[in-house]
């Protein structure tokens, strides 16, 4: 039986362990982070610790769009400049950041916090779908844009939502699929190319 011994002091090993739980951070990076912080002045480390606690203390879920925000309703939902007749449905809060970078969308959002995946035990009840339906029941929404990921689980979610929303008489649209800008046809995979062909549009000079 090997003695319970780690070369690193207990608090150090504990922090390495915590960093190691983060996505994209392996044991080596976790060690590097930890020893870097050990060398930093105390106020720097304190600032990091406070920032960490702040995200849990001050971030709440918007009761309307379910995004993770500081105020309820969130800036999107309470803004008079956003078009409240459109809702764009996304899987994660991060997707909103991506869509906002495009600057092409002025409507509201709805975050599902996941996608349907039976093997992971995620069904419609686990997602913020009830909340979306409640928003539709108010009758102000004309279009729902389904912006779930173009993979199996995202498509399953889109299909489920489509069926659920049909009785409300809203226009349901799906993000287009096809070629990325600045890409080469040569490097596109067959599935993407096929969908780009199927979704071709009248040329507009």
């Amino acid at each position: 039986m090997e003695p319970d011994f780690t070369p690193a002091a207990e608090p150090v090993a504990r922090l390495i362990g915590e960093f190691n739980k983060l996505p994209g951070v392996g044991p080596k990076t976790a060690q590097r982070f930890t020893y870097f912080l050990l060398k930093q002045p105390e106020e720097e480390v304190r600032a990091l610790a406070e920032a960490l606690l702040a995200i849990k203390d001050s971030i709440i879920t918007c009761s309307s769009c379910q995004n993770l925000v500081e105020t309820d309703p969130c800036p999107f939902c309470s803004s008079s400049e956003r078009d409240s007749s459109r809702i764009c449905v996304v899987e994660e809060p991060m997707d909103i950041l991506a869509l906002e970078r495009s600057r092409g969308y002025k409507g509201l959002y709805h975050v599902l916090h996941g996608a349907i995946s039976p093997m992971d035990g995620i069904g419609p009840e686990e997602l913020k779908i009830k909340e979306l339906i409640q928003r539709l029941q108010k009758g102000e929404v004309e279009e729902v844009i389904l912006a779930t990921n173009p993979n199996l689980e995202g498509e399953a979610t889109a299909m489920y939502l489509y069926r659920l929303m049909t009785p409300f008489g809203v226009r349901v649209t799906r993000l287009a699929r096809g070629l990325p800008m600045g890409g080469d046809l040569e490097y596109a995979d067959e599935v993407t190319l096929m969908q780009a062909l199927e979704g071709r549009r009248q040329f507009q000079p």
């Binding site: 090997e2 780690t6 070369p7 690193a8 150090v12 090993a13 390495i16 362990g17 190691n20 392996g26 044991p27 080596k28 976790a30 060690q31 349907i116 995946s117 039976p118 093997m119 035990g121 069904g123 419609p124 199996l152 689980e153 498509e155 399953a156 299909m159 489920y160 069926r163 067959e190």
Partner: protein
Amino acid sequence: MHLSKLSLTNFRNYQRLEWEPDRGINILFGDNGQGKTNLVEAINFLSTTRSYRTSIEKELINWSASHDDISAARVEGEVVGKKGKLRLELALMGRKSDSGKTSSLVKPEVDALVGVVHKKILLNGVPRRAMDVVGKVNTVLFASHDIDVSSGAPSQRRRYLDVMESQVNVEYLRALAGYNRILVQRNHLLRQIQEGHANSFQLEFWNNELVEKGSYLVEQRMALIGNICALAADIHRQLTSEKENLIVLYLPSLKEVTADMDRVSIKGNFSTRLELLQKREVAAGMSLVGPHRDDLTFLVNGVDIGIYGSRGQQRTVALSLKLAEAGFLRQTVGESPVVLLDDILSELDSKRRHLVIETLRAYGQVVTTTTELESLEAAFVAGAKVFRVHEGTLTPA
């Protein structure tokens, strides 16, 4: 095509190997446990990016060479075909999980990397996905477990079809991977419906996906079996001196599907079956119909050889199927695959062995293993390059 160079590092019992196989017939001989099969496995690994012997890739890594608990196995091959030369490299990096010491400062239970094998695939030095390199090196592998193909489990017969078609049709490999993923999701959903945790109208999406991918698989399998049936029948007549007539028969899980159906009709049939079976599928908590339940049967002179055939007859059928696979690959790809025979020749009587050898001469490169050189015909051995395998080393004999 032929394998012109093979180099192994820490692969199974080979710490280091540089081998230039002959373009023709290569005989690997040596005692049991010296590494003959490991060499055949390595060549097949280049072709399929998977081991046919184990699903636990950590087993492929030779740990004795490393002082650390991290080690890597590498298989590198150079293949010369009609499209020129290509270099394929597969590396497996892993960490021993049962080691007491750990190189990291963290307690082993925190270490997420323990036992994980990381696989890297390079084609001509450029990183690629497995799907992009399958079929770059075509091989036909005939190992002793293949002899049971007619009497063994249906999954073995489906695998025979899948390995063959995937080598020439990437779309098939992709559809198969997609189908299996849909199947897992759908089975979970069926179980959740059974337990009252999900609504049955959620099935619609998964049914459509299953039908879409599944119908493609069925269509491709029908065409493939048509090809194989013709090739295997010819070969089988030769092997049995015109005495036996072999028919390869497709038994699709979608029972009403026939060879003259197009994909649209197959889809229609599949959808209808799913509707009819819904209650039973929910009760069973799994998908009861589709290509994952397909089977093949082999009729010799009208009799199912898997049930009524003698061991010898089953062996000959397996041989015909393997030679048909080689013929199919040659026909489709336009050049001969590398034929790998693991301890097969010694399982055959001298007459069949002679016929197999004659047939193989028509192919390009062959790698065959044997424990007894004397059991092979002198003329065959004389026309081949012989290598002696001893404790993970290879010497020309």
